[in-house]
Every structure is written in C-alpha cells, then in structure tokens.
Symmetry: C2
Subunit: 503 residues, 2 copies
Amino acid sequence: MAKIKKQPRPKAITPKGFRDYFGEEVTQRSEMLRTIAGVYHHYGFEALESSAVETVEALGKFLPDVDRPNAGVFAWQEADEHDPEGKPGDWMALRYDLTAPLARVYAQHRNELPSPYRRYAMGPVWRNEKPGPGRFRQFYQCDADTVGTASMAADAEICMMLSDTLERVGIPRGDYLVRVNNRKVLNGILEAMGLAEDDPKRDDVLRTIDKFDKVGEAGVRELLTKGRLDASGAYIDGVGLGDAQADPVLAFLTSRADDVAGTMQNLRAAVGDSKTGLEGIGELEQIGELLAAGGYGQDQILIDPSIVRGLGYYTGPVFEAELTFEIFDEKGRKRQFGSVAGGGRYDGLVKRFTGQEVPAVGLSIGVDRLLAALREKGRLDATPKGPVVVTVMDRARMADYQSMVAELRNAGIRAEVYLGNPKNFGNQLKYADKRNSPIAVIEGGDEKEKGVIQIKDLILGAKIAESATLEEWKERPSQFEVPRGDLIAKVREILASQDEPDE
Amino acid sequence: MAKIKKQPRPKAITPKGFRDYFGEEVTQRSEMLRTIAGVYHHYGFEALESSAVETVEALGKFLPDVDRPNAGVFAWQEADEHDPEGKPGDWMALRYDLTAPLARVYAQHRNELPSPYRRYAMGPVWRNEKPGPGRFRQFYQCDADTVGTASMAADAEICMMLSDTLERVGIPRGDYLVRVNNRKVLNGILEAMGLAEDDPKRDDVLRTIDKFDKVGEAGVRELLTKGRLDASGAYIDGVGLGDAQADPVLAFLTSRADDVAGTMQNLRAAVGDSKTGLEGIGELEQIGELLAAGGYGQDQILIDPSIVRGLGYYTGPVFEAELTFEIFDEKGRKRQFGSVAGGGRYDGLVKRFTGQEVPAVGLSIGVDRLLAALREKGRLDATPKGPVVVTVMDRARMADYQSMVAELRNAGIRAEVYLGNPKNFGNQLKYADKRNSPIAVIEGGDEKEKGVIQIKDLILGAKIAESATLEEWKERPSQFEVPRGDLIAKVREILASQDEPDE
C-alpha cells in the first residue's frame, strides 16, 4: 500500500445521482421482485436476464426526452486492447430500460425462441439524466412482455396481470387504477384535426393532452390555440390551432362515460371517419370485453382516453398504473402518489433489426417507486429485528461464545458473537442497540462457574427505560438468569413475547 | 419510425464477452442467491446494495492483473451537460468487485454504521478483460464482510460460513474444501529468504508458489533458481535465486502435516525468526482452534500453506474454496472443477479514504461458477415444466379460454392461453412443446356443445411417441375427455402422475 499513501486521498462518495441501499431497503426490494416474478411466472412468462451492457447501435434511442435525443445514456467507446492494430472498439452503453434489450434478444435468438415469446425481466437500468429529489440515475424495473402476437388478448392479459401484481404486493383495490388508452385513437384525433403524420404540431398536441389533469378542459383549449397565462404568471405560448381544429381533442379528453360502451360512443364521435382512430376504438372494445369477462371492474382497470405516456415507440394500446391515495411530499403538501407502472403495444421495435414487423406488448413496473409508496403508507416494516448478540466477557473464551452462537443458529435463531474489541462492555450493548438486536446473551466468569447465563431482553429494556415513571413497568425485569442449558428455550420465549402486542 | 428505417439495420448481438441468460438459468441463480443471502443473514450480516457505478477515484486499482494495472475496468468520462460551463465531468466506472465499493461505503457512512459493520452484497460485477470460453465480462458475486475488527474470530466465522453455505446450496461434504493460508506467513518466508519488502523478486516468488499444484516440488525449485523446460518444450526463465535461498519456499510448500499442530511446527521451522511470519502462524493457530471448537473437520476447512490468492490487498489470512470433484471439460478431458469462492483479511482498503487503518475480512462466492458446477453434476433440473397451455379453437371465444386460464391460475396452476395466430392447430401444439408444457387443454365447438373439454398429457404423449413399439405404452391414452367442470381436478391428477417415477 506504500505507493497509494503518497497519492491524495480519494473522496468516499457515490457518484452524483447514485445512492447506496442498506439492510431492509435491499431485502424488501428483493422480496418485492420475488413476488412480482412469482406472478409473472404463474402467468406463463419465462425469465430472461440480458447483460447490463449493450452496443449503442443495438440499444437505439428511444428515451422519452425528445428534445435531447443523444442524451440519457451512459456510453463509452471500448479501447480494443485485444485488437493487434489497437484501433478503437465499439461504442457500448448501459441499458436505459429492459425493452430495448428485449428487442435485441428477440431479434438475435428468434429462431430458437418459442413464438409468441413471453418473458419477464427485472434489474437495474441506468439513465444519464439530471438527478433530483427522489430521482436517481440507477433504478429497478420489472417487466413482462409478449412478443410475436397482434392479439388484443395479450394486451388485456398484461393489464389484468398488472392489476393482480399490484394487489399481490400490498396495494389494495381502490388504492390503484390501471388506465388504458390507445395510441391509434390519439392518431385518429390528430387525423380528424387535419394534422399530417409528419406535422411537428402533433408532438405539441400530445404534450398538451398530457397536461389535461393539471389545467383542465379550458386550459387545454387555451394551450392548443392562443396560449395561456399559467399560475406563476408566466405566459405559455399556444400551439396556434384554430378553435374548431381543437374541438376533436376536447371531445376526446372528455369522452369518458360511466361505462365502456358510452366512452366508445364518444370516442367514435371524436375521431370522425379516421380509419386509424376507428381501428384503435375497436381494439379498446376488445380489451374492454376481455377485462369484463375476466371479472375486472372499472375500479381496477379503466379505459381512459386522457393518458398518453411519453414513449414514442408505442403503436397501439397504452396503459399506466397510478396509485390513487394521497401522500405528503417533503414540504408537507398533500399530493397524489402518481404512476408506478406503464406499458403498451410497440409493433416496430424488433423491425429495427430484422426489417420485419413483430407485434409486441409489454409492461414495466417501477419497483423503487412502488416500494416508496408502500413505505409512505406504513405498509413495510421500518426497523426489523437484528440478530441476537452473544457478548464477549472473556476474550480467551471466544470458542465458547462461538459455540453458543452456533447453537442459536442451529435452532433457527439469527445470532452472532460480538466481534469488536470486547474491553468496554458498554460498547457491546451500544452495538446491539444499533443493530436493533432483540436480545443480548452474557456469560462472564461468575456465570460460567455457576453454570448459568444472563439473557437481556433489549426491547423490553428500552421500553422500561423510556417509561421510567410507570410503576408497572419498573417491576418487570428485563434481564434473566437461566441455566446454560436453557439458552434456546429462554431466547425463544423472549422473542415470542416481543412479537405480542403490548398489554 | 420513419427516420430509423433509412439507417442501416443495427446488428442484433450482445457485446463481445457478454451473454443473455434464459429461463431456468435466471431462476436457478436467483434461488441460489436467495439461499446464500439466507445463510449470510442468519449469521447476522445485513444487506447492502451499492450502486453499480462508482467514481474511478473511489474504486482504485486492485484488480489481480498486476501486469496491466490500468486495464480491467469499463470506465468513461461524464459529459457534464448540467454544468453551465460545459466542462467535462468525473471519470466513472462499473464496479469490478463488491469489496472496493464496500470500502467506499464504509468510509462514507462510518459514523452512522455499527462497528463492526457486517454486510453482505450480491450482484453483477464487470471486468474489461479478454473474454474466453466460460469467461464473461459480467458475472455475479455474492460477498460477506466484517469491517472494523482485527479478531481472528471474524476470519474463522467467515470460513465456517463459507463451508455452511456450500453445503446449503447442494455441495455435499467431501465435494468441496476450504483451504486457509496467511499472507503474513508468506511474507515471513520472503523475509527468511532475505528478500526486502520492495524487492521485485517477491512477486516472482509468489507467482511461482501458485504453480506448485502444477509443477510440484522439483518444478518449483527449478523455477525459483535456474529455470525450467516446461511440458511444451519452452524454456521458462528462473527467478535466479540460489539453492539455499529457495529452501524456505520449499519447506513452506511441503509444510502440511496430518494435523494443524504438525503443520504449524513445520511452518515455524520455515519462517525462522521472522516476526511477521510468527505472527501469521499465531493467527492460523487461533483460526484452527476456533474451527475445531466449532466442529469443522479438516475435510471441510483445511489449513494449507500452498494457496496464495492473486489479490495484492490481502494482509493476513486468505482462503479459497475449491470443488474437489472431477468434471469433463468441453474437449472431454477430466479436470478438477477448481475454485468457486475466496477471500481474506484486507486491513488497508478503508485507509485509502480515511488515513486510518480499518481491519476487515471478507468472502466472495462466484455464483455463476457454482451454478455451472451444480449443472455439470446434474444437481439442477435442466428443463423444468412450462405452463399448461389452453389452446384456441375459436378466435371469437377468447374470453372463454381466458376464463379457463384464470380458473387454472386461481387453483395455483401455472397456465396461459395460446396468444399466437390460432389458425394452425399444429403450431399451437408445437408452441406447447417448445415451452415444455405438461398439458394442453382443448375446447372446440363440439366440446363446447357437449359441455366437455379435451385434456392432453403432453409428457405421456411424447413418451408414447418415442416408444411406439411397446405394446403396454400404446394402450395408454394420453388424451382425456372430461366434463368442463372437471378441468382443475383432471389437470391436477395428470400433473401429479407426471411427477411420479415411471413404472
């Protein structure tokens, strides 16, 4: 290490926008991934884990940020040291989602894969974006996709599976809503407005539709036409459409009726005779029928024309799962939790590689957001129990303490011996406290001689310390002397009592 | 998609040295990671997931490849678009192991973390190395470390935990061996040889020791002194030591006796009066005592002076787990499977950041190698069952088929409806075959009218097709007509019969 000493010390920090996850944050996420994988697998999907690194060429540019099409990924050029001529190698990048790699995998292995190919995938993805509060540059996604079928039964199935998954991970009915729309209906509206396929105003209109939730009907009309003074007093330029041209958008946005049939009727009126629009409505009707036959109510999955979803590659049905309960943000303001999952049909992604259109539909769950939501609602255990700590009273008798720990572990009890410097016994108890240990075991020289051990109930001890004025608590001992042979029995008894609710 | 069409088609390939994992490869790995995490957690370790990306500065250069100290990582310079002056940002890299990030995490959070800090971590790591058969640039590690204690009880515990873990994932006693050595003993030998701490010959000697398994005692002596003609006929230059100077190395390599005490005695003779060497022997003795007290035999964990381990950062005990059974390599040659895990004490890693020495010891399991070993030995199910497939005889009745599938899923049976083009029924059965489906369910118009369904046992069907000459098989039907209401009961019955061994 001599050479390193002379260098300036490196800074011990995560790169900007990255973070570390500790203890329960990690185990709760793996449990959630496991649960979701269980649902996907039960539905017949197979696991796939593609590499985190792809060639830039294979990944393509499908990030939602249309204003900066080259940004958004972490990429580097391989220095091909293995090439005898030393010429620079391929551009590589970290995957930014799990859909682009799926398209590559399907194109690469299509002759061996079953068709349709139904796969699920989970893992981190990376975005080279400006970090913000709660926005990180590495986060988990958990996807399922059916590649190779145009059947709306695949789209309906994915919506039903999303609903099942949310309920399985602990979001009860009423606390979430899967909203379904169809990109073709949107395109039909744009056609009905007389905007050609390459008209740049199409993107402006889509972006305006996305603001419906915030600015309402009148606001959307203003934004589509002459512009609008926003809440902050700034003037937002309008798209510049005529009032009549904006009509189909408003008809579309207000098309939701009490039942699917009513919504469909309103949509039909909005798209006029656009062939694409009518096709989209037909698809939504099929999905609606399958959902109804499956027993999924509008309180679970709702056909709702107001959702757009950012990604440009969707070609048919799109859907989004929102949590509908309110939470308080970091400034104490009430707000809706918002979107935790989304997906849709993308019939063009594989074609990039093969030239042949391969219809596909998929779903992506933002696992980290879902975990955050469950934490906000207090549905995840914040500080689960640490291990039982066997303290060290006599350094020379480490083997004895290790045997005690082995006995506890063999009895199925999580346990460890204190491995720090044992000189200061207070530090041992502080350690147990920091680990949230339920119990400390003590065997000093006196105890050893008498054949006993001390077992300290740390949770009860903490309660007694907190409620020092209550007589009933004072009388309860939190430390017990038991014969050495009763170690397991007594530890089990205390652990069980700690799990009971307080009297 | 209009713009993309005009570009040449991207190649659908994984970058060189990366691969995709399908189906059971993925689920078997997650099961193994879960099992290992369970053991680590039970031993009192807490989960940690650090980001995959670190600053190059924080990562440092600790890869074993001493000849190319700057190679080995995937790194890039961040283009800091968020900086108003547009100046280039930090150098970032993908982690190459889980130990360097742990040192960074510990240095960054040391004031909040318990001490000792006991953490486990699992996930992919990336090495920018030349790929080869079975050598990939992304692979999984599964680590556990105790940071902040110099106690040999921590080292002994990690060895015991490694032994427990290997047995838990399905490597029986006798099929593996954890071998323990101590870097200080090695340094003592180098001292006894009269090589100063900065003598470049030290590395040559260590590399030669690593070849002991291959070239034996005489070979090592030749390599240390005048050089050696290797099996291929090439002459390998010697280190250039005198014969007497090579003696301690040979004494060291042949020091293993039948019991720990005997080995220690031989080592003492080999290191002479080197203080470092005697300290290392003392540490091995302590570990040996704790292992014996824990009931671990020399058939599980063996103190063995011949292991070196590549990483330069080890400062005390080092250990390595080997699988001892033989397998056949791709060319059909018998060979030992070799190392699947390793670790040791590294007291200097955190000091890079803080200036203070923080003693630490850890373990890393190469999960992908372990899985490969279990596959070689036939201990992992190669082709587990796919989902029950409900076929589509009438496209218009998709909702009915979906209901059947829902019924099966609700009964806990993995199932799906065929989502491809249903026109060609043969394709539906081919699909079921490719998915390794145990059962296909068929309900055509006739069946619907009669209130029955056809249930096809695909596994029995395949067996009958294979054994067409056996009369007893021929008579067994593999397709059953049952009332629609008996769907679940009949499917359960067939699934159970498939799990029974053949008569």
